[in-house]
């Protein structure tokens, strides 16, 4: 679920942001922030809010791309059934 950039995780959290995207037809929340030299991006399924993927990297773009890629893969396993 995770990938880590080797850097200190001390300091204040900065650049905290959230946005919603859709992956495989499911709403996904991306939460991004920076702490020290690390950029973190977490993707969670909005309902219920569980973490699907979380990566840290040295750039925000890399962290987000990795999180989205992993989340898309996991969501692809969910089957919808007729009710």
């Amino acid at each position: 679920m995770t990938g880590e950039a080797a850097a200190s995780a001390s300091g204040r959290s900065e650049q905290f942001s959230e946005r919603q995207i859709e992956l495989n037809g499911w709403p996904v929340r991306l939460t991004s922030y920076r702490v020290g030299e690390k950029y973190v991006c977490q993707a969670d399924n909005i309902s219920p809010g569980a973490c699907l993927a979380r990566f840290s990297a040295t750039t925000p773009e890399e962290a987000e791309a990795q999180a989205i890629s992993k989340a898309r893969h996991m969501l692809g396993k969910t089957k919808r059934r007729d009710v």
Binding site: M1, T2, E4, S8, A9, S10, G11, R12, S13, E14, F16, W26, T31, Y33, V35, G36, K38, V40, Q42, D44, N45, S47, P48, G49, A50, C51, L52, R54, S56, A71, M74, L75, K77, T78, K79, R80, R81, V83
Partner: protein, 287 residues
Amino acid sequence: MGQYAHPEVLVDTEWVASHLNDKAVRIVEVDVDTGAYDLGHIPGAIAWAWTTQLCDTVQRDILPKEQLEALLSKSGVNRDTTIILYGDSNNWFAAWAFWQLKIYGHKDVRLLNGGRKKWLAEGRELTDQVPSHEPTNYKAAEPDLSLRAFLPQVLEAVKKGGTALVDVRSPQEFTGEILAPPGLPETCQRGGHIPGARSIPWGKACNDDGTFKTFEELKALYGGEGIDGKGPVISYCRIGERSSHTWFVLRYLLGLQNVTNYDGSWTEWGNLVGAPVERGAAKAVSA
């Protein structure tokens, strides 16, 4: 504005920031994503992993008494320590820890309102330093099982009526469209919900910043589905953690007296041979 029934079980980020070095306080992070702590946590906070430290890892059960005592002893907690729990996903698993600590009689347990998210969003201090604490010899109370619902009680509740069942899973899990939250393993044979249950997803109790909604908003949310505390209430989800969050809201914020958490939840019910299951949306609340 009405006040929560037990406002003393919540602290805000400012309170925590001013108690980082308080020896009477132990701050504990409990996340859905058990690796989040390593990315930076509240200075002085320790971490408990729900997958290994807050459950019986052999048989399916909550943490046995002796293991809880060992965990709290290792964490430097005494019977009179104020335990502040916080975590990701609006304190989802922090509430799971809260529920277990109450079962074993720890008096002063509180949630950081807004959890990890609010701490991060406010740009507060984080550290990767893991503190160590002088071990204690913690002795827990015998488990208070009045906070917990087991399968026979739920079967009886369905049979007899008069008990409100609150399904806190997503609407798609409730209807049976999916068997588990999107992206997570499917661990039941049948989809749907316990007959008569109301669908009130757990996250509806929270604001966008992760804090709990006001007393009035919560009262309207649950009261609108007939959950008014006039009778027993059982909350459930898939594995009992999301429903511990709702249990916390109903018991401590709204002050309902007879609320239990059915931690067997859908992974028990949805695998049970012969258990009654309803599919589709909930029926309208009867007047």
